[in-house]
């Protein structure tokens, strides 16, 4: 009996059209490839029933087979949109939503940039009410949000650098001043001002490089944590934070420059003072 029913089963399957389901929806609704699901444009919770103002009793309903589960694209423009996605055949969607033969946009393939320009002019001349855009213009438009966020991050970065510079200068000044007596004693036994100055500056440079190396490790861990958190929060493969060789080099060099300048300022104060004053006499 089961064998007898198989041809009917395959025949029914063959008639069903296929859809691709977003990974978020598949995970939340427990949908797998090969499942048959019912789709409709009808809003949930009994909407559309007779008696409800404006309700429609004739919402089309289709059974479809899930043929693929698709991951969300790493697209910045979709970052804050947490709606589920289903991809289906155009004519089927038009029928389900009752739009008729209507689409939101066309994608037009061209051979080269000259053909693109010609196509743009032809479309805009021929069809008032249509606007043709280059793909790169759309990409630039959709990435505006992230360009703004990027500018904001850069501004925050500048403030952080100012704060770090003040902090570093302060700490090095304290560190040098703590050793006033020691340095005073060294000056008294014959060490030149230049030797004391370079000792302090080299020490500051060492501290800065060591600190920045530690900072790179902390930054790398923080970057990994940021990516893990926001990728999970927004359910996207997009990388929110990256640590590149350029960034590491910039951070270490900046830290070194700040450290050397701060060390030099602190050392200057030290070498200008008489040795006896340094040892408190």
């Amino acid at each position: 009996m089961l064998l007898a029913a198989l041809p009917l089963f395959f025949a029914l399957q063959a008639q069903l059209r296929t859809v691709a389901v977003g990974a978020d929806l598949a995970a939340d609704a427990g949908i797998a490839v090969g499942d048959t699901v019912v789709i409709s444009a009808r809003p949930p919770a009994g909407v559309g029933e007779e008696g409800v103002p404006g309700g429609r009793a004739d919402w089309p309903v289709d059974s479809v087979v899930v043929s693929a589960i698709v991951e969300r694209r790493a697209d910045p423009s979709e970052i804050a949109r947490n709606d589920y996605r289903v991809r289906l055949h155009l004519d089927q969607l038009e029928r389900l939503v009752g739009y008729g033969n209507r689409v939101d946009r066309f994608a037009v393939g061209t051979f080269d940039s000259a053909a693109t320009e010609q196509a743009l002019r032809s479309i805009e001349d021929a069809a008032f009410g249509f606007q043709a855009h280059r793909s790169r213009d759309i990409a630039a438009e959709t990435s505006t949000t992230f360009a703004v966020v990027s500018r904001f991050h850069r501004a925050i970065g500048v403030i952080t650098i100012v704060a770090s510079a003040v902090f570093l200068l302060c700490i090095l000044l304290l560190k040098v001043e703590e050793r006033r007596r020691g340095m005073g004693a060294l000056r008294l036994i014959g060490l030149s001002r230049r030797t004391v100055f370079s000792t302090v500056v080299i020490e500051a440079a060492f501290v800065s490089v060591l600190g920045s190396a530690l900072g790179v490790l902390v930054g790398w861990a923080a970057s990994a944590a940021v990516n893990a958190y926001y990728q999970s929060f927004y359910r996207t493969p997009l990388r929110f934070s990256i640590v590149t060789a350029d960034i590491v080099l910039f951070a270490v060099l900046l830290s070194l420059v700040l450290g050397v300048v701060a060390g030099a300022v602190a050392a200057l104060r030290l070498v200008r003072a008489p040795p006896l004053e340094l040892i408190g006499r």
């Binding site: 103002p53 404006g54 008032f128 249509f130 703004v148 704060a163």
Partner: protein, 395 residues
Amino acid sequence: MRILLALAALRSHRVRTALAVLGVAVAAAMLLCMVMLSAGLRESFRELLLARGFQLRLSPRGTLPFDTEATISDASTIVQTLAAQPDVVTVSAVLGAQLHVEQGGEGVTTFALGVNPAAQGDYELLEGRDAKAPDALVANDAFLAAAGARVGDTLTFAAGYDPQLRSFSGERTMVVSGRARFLYLASGQSAVALELRVLQDMTGRAGSDEVSLFMVRLRDGADVEAVRAWIQEHVPRVDAISTAEAMQRVDERLSYFRQLGFILGAVSLIVGFLLVTTLMTVSVNERLGEIAVMRAMGVSRLHVIHQILLEGLAMSLAGGIAGLGLGLVTARYLNSILSAFPGLPEAIDFFLFQPRSAWTALGLLVLVGVAAGIYPSWRAATLPIAGALHEEAVA
């Protein structure tokens, strides 16, 4: 006396104190910015939503207002249903669509709102007359600039173009009767508003009486949540969104900035704490002999603790007050960057100054100042007097 001693100790190392105050000022500026960021966006959005007194928005089920092209049919029936609710004072039905106007051989596409001018809450009229006639519309500056038009000009608008028949659809000649500012549209977005019925006619939505959104104003003192539940029960194919819920959804979408504000605010506090603690510890280490002498002379432990805590507090307060001014300037600059977000209404501010923000920042800094002085003051208070005096004498 203790305050004078604390200030004298700080004055004795002017450069060091100035640097520490500068460091705390930068941290305080950052802290204020982040406090303003975490509360400002929310408050600014709330003020915008309530600007015209509409507490509820009804959008097609499962969508946010104007988030998709979905519409609600049988609008008049829904308006009648809503009017039966005793707490409902005004219902404003709104339809959003694109209109095109040909001017100087070029087509200008604009966003159009179909409204009931007597009950609308989407724009404020700046000049001329409202769009109360079927052939009148009001436009914003962006549209007037794009179309090269002025108030009083007559233009031909079309709702669409049929490329197969090569003809306009929903064509209508209209007079720009007024200039308006649209509250919820992005700055620079071209927009016009006309009577709802006219726009429905032009876009072919008159038969099904479609709208994109309802805005509902309630009587003073009405329970918004109760009315929302009533609407949800009686008009189930819409999502009734209260101001609180809209704010929550915006919070969800822009939670990144709140989290960033929290993290950077916490980092600022930690930096300020470390700076003051380090400075105070070094300062105490340098003055061990002096503190031992004071203690030997009979100065109490409590006095020493108070003096050290006051030094930390003075530095934090001075840095905090300087940082508030710096923070306001920085916040204005950062706000100008974030205002360039596409689609953001002009009236939205990411950084909104409220006295509460300043007090919160200052209060946190005072706490940090006190906390930063705890370890150095404990070290100073538990100093073995004889040992410290002996070391000082040997040195």
